[in-house]
């Protein structure tokens, strides 16, 4: 087999790795059994105590942590208040009243026409949109992190191309820890992962120039989290 043959390369690399191991049938099968068992178990390691507490405590923690990471937050009591909350943000930031939004069920049943000045289109972005609105799959109070993933209702490009990223986080999907968020994702996808899962903690930044921290390196300059109280608890 030629060295350029992919199968050769594969068995070559795996063979070199196996040189350090016992490769008797029993030992090999034990290794695979141990590996499969651990993968199946999906056992959490130590989980920080910080993100435990009731829904109210978790929400307070989430907000503190997210703001610590330079995100901004706003409370929204009802889905139909979202248009106003979005417009308020755009106005406050001297942005045109234009938005590319995720075609998410949470957003599609809202009366956006209540704010006729707001120009909404739904879908992925090609880079011309200054502001985008997404719906988070989950939030993690531990570090004020949003969990977003790719899908027909949630284009990933909205998370990275626009200058301003607004994200709706429903209190019903706010988790304390990453472990809880992973469980929720596994359940939602019937075990299949989406193409992309993003943990987003604050807006994009870089300290690469003179060790000076600046927001908006390539991703959004601003992350604004609209916390929608849908009154269920996780």
């Amino acid at each position: 087999m030629k060295p350029s043959n992919p199968d050769f390369r594969r068995s070559n690399v795996l063979g070199n790795i196996r040189k350090s191991f016992d490769n008797s049938d029993k030992a090999k099968s034990d290794r695979f059994a141990a590996v499969d068992a651990r993968i199946r178990a999906q056992r959490p390691n130590v989980v920080p105590a910080r993100a435990s507490g009731d829904a109210k405590a978790l929400l307070a923690l989430f907000i503190t942590q997210a703001e610590q990471a330079s995100a901004t937050t706003a409370r929204v009591d009802d889905p139909n208040d979202l248009p106003q909350a979005v417009l308020a943000y755009l106005t406050a930031n001297a942005l045109p009243p234009r938005l590319k939004a995720a075609p998410h069920a949470v957003l599609e049943n809202i009366a956006w026409s209540k704010q006729p000045s707001l120009d909404m289109t739904f879908g992925a972005t090609l880079g011309d949109d200054e502001a985008a609105l997404s719906v988070a799959f989950s939030g993690v109070a531990e570090t004020g992190t949003l969990v977003l993933h790719s899908g027909p209702e949630s284009p990933t490009t909205l998370n990275f191309l626009p200058d301003h990223h607004l994200v709706v986080l429903r209190t019903s999907v706010l988790a304390g820890t990453y472990e809880a968020a992973w469980s929720a994702l596994r359940n939602a996808g019937n075990g299949a992962m989406p193409r992309t899962v993003n943990w987003v903690t604050g807006p994009s930044r870089s300290g690469d120039i003179d060790q000076t921290l600046l927001m908006g390196a390539h991703g959004p300059r601003s992350l604004h989290i609209l916390i929608l109280d849908d009154k269920k608890t996780i």
Binding site: V13, S20, P48, A49, P103, M193, T201, I209, Q211, H218
Partner: protein
């Protein structure tokens, strides 16, 4: 990238004399450590997280073949392709082929040390494909044709004035007299230019901080979001990762992420932690159509189960570099390749050979701070010493030093000879010192290494053991 590890001493001298570099190093060597301490302070479980992270990696390394096979199965199941490369040459060939198949003209790159190690950029350029680094620091050094000087902050050796000069020289579409004194203007300029490149790229290449066996997932960690734009916009996403990057489950990846940013920059989490599995799904609205993972060995399998096994636990956080007094003195370019500081001093001799990188493990005072701060508890000084032992066995290094040490050891093993010889030597030196009259030497033959910059105390004149024996107090 041209390797200059052989010239460590000359490189180091340059670094010591570079005022811009010294300013940058002084800042990073206080900034990052303080931020790390503050982050650890806010995480009472930090030590247990470290223990768990170590256990995860140790378990994975002990079952590495099985984990890689399970990982591969999952990648294929999700519609991705897995390629295996024994060395940099094979990795280059594979990446080039994928880029050619994609008809690529330009390729964007997320920050990836393994692609530097494997020489991917040069290979693409030599074959008419333009690689564009998108991490801000990597972009800047790509413009300057310099290697990175730090594994997470590649341009840390540069002042903003130097960056401005580079932008003026290379971004010729802009007015040459524009004001670039504010770092914000530099950022905006780079952002605008790279935005066009992100969108135009045919292929995006990233590394992977981890590969998750449970789901066939690659993980990247950035603060800028450049890795995400690199891997989301083009039609083809290539991941290049070395064999030891695999971890068992999402939970295990999470534990490692909990210690990663805290150890690196003192952030609780990096801004973007992204988990990618296969190409876009049929009803996705964006994402690449093709997903390739190149799994590269390049010497790691040789480290398994041996003296350097624990180095495979490294998660490339840079804590060791940020706390190293030698790195602080000389900077990253001194090490001559893409890996610097203590982790570089351990890895580079293994990857390039001791003859090439001989000085790296020698240039350490063994202060041990690196091991203290390594989230993966890698015994770095022990490994540096292991390289020194190999060097000694192979007869590398200064012959004079070796001879001198040999003489010392000869006598130190033989107390009956040691005592009278030391008595004579000490008395002679003390007499010479008394003659000079100041209690110290500012110069001594054979002691140039010391006396060029330091005075040498004069010995008291009689040895302690002898005085004690004679009942003198």
């Amino acid at each position: 990238m041209q390797v200059t590890s052989r010239s460590f001493v000359a490189n180091a001298k340059k670094g010591l004399a570079d005022a811009n570099l010294q300013t940058a190093l002084a800042r990073l060597s206080t900034g990052f450590p303080m931020a790390r301490l503050a982050a650890i302070d806010r995480m009472p479980e930090f030590e247990r997280l470290r223990d768990d992270a170590v256990a995860i990696k140790d378990h994975t390394l002990a079952n590495l073949d099985a984990y890689l096979e399970r990982y591969e199965e999952k990648v294929i199941e999700s519609g991705g392709h897995v390629h295996w490369a024994a060395d940099g040459q094979q990795a280059r060939d594979i990446v080039l082929q994928i880029c050619r198949d994609a008809g690529a003209r330009t390729v964007t790159k997320g920050k990836s040390m393994i692609t530097e190690e494997a020489g991917i950029n040069e290979h693409l350029e030599a074959n008419g494909i333009e690689p564009i680094e998108t991490d801000l620091g990597e972009y800047i050094i790509q413009l300057r044709d310099e290697p990175p000087s730090h594994i997470i902050a590649p341009a840390i050796h540069l002042s903003k004035e130097q960056v401005a000069d580079t932008f003026v020289a290379e971004h010729t579409d802009f007015a040459p007299d524009r004001d670039l004194t504010d770092p914000r203007t530099l950022l905006e300029e780079a952002r605008a230019i790279l935005r066009r490149k992100f969108i135009a790229a045919d292929v995006g290449i990233t590394g992977a901080n981890m590969l998750i066996a449970e789901t066939g997932t690659s993980v990247i960690v950035t603060n800028e979001g450049n890795g995400d734009l690199t891997q989301t916009l083009p039609k083809t996403h290539i991941v290049v990762a070395s064999i030891e990057k695999v971890v068992p489950t999402l939970e295990d990846a999470t534990t490692i992420l909990r210690v990663l940013a805290r150890s690196a920059t003192g952030q609780e989490m990096a801004v973007y932690n992204t988990f990618s599995t296969g190409p876009r799904r049929p009803d996705d609205l964006d994402g690449p159509e093709n997903y390739h993972v190149v799994i590269l060995d390049n010497g790691r399998s040789d480290m398994l189960g041996g003296e350097f096994n624990d180095m495979l636990r490294c998660i490339k956080c840079s804590a060791c570099i940020n706390h190293c007094p030698v790195y602080k003195a000389v900077g990253g370019h001194a090490y001559g390749w893409c890996y610097s500081g203590p982790m570089g001093a351990v890895l580079v001799p293994g990857l390039l050979g001791l003859a090439e990188a001989h000085d790296l493990p020698q240039a350490s005072s063994f202060c041990g701070r690196c091991e203290d701060v390594c989230p993966m508890r890698i015994p770095l000084p022990r490994m540096l010493r292991a390289w020194r032992t190999k060097s000694y066995e192979q007869g590398l290094g200064s012959k004079t030093s070796r001879a001198g040490l040999g003489v010392w050891a000869y006598f130190a093993r033989r107390p009956l000879l040691y005592r009278p010889l030391m008595r004579l030597g000490v008395a002679a030196l003390a007499a010479l010192g008394a003659f000079r009259g100041r209690g110290r030497f500012s110069w001594l033959p054979l002691a140039g290494g010391w006396t060029t910059s330091r005075d040498l105390p004069v010995p008291e004149g009689r040895t302690f053991v002898e005085q004690w024996k004679r009942g003198q107090r």
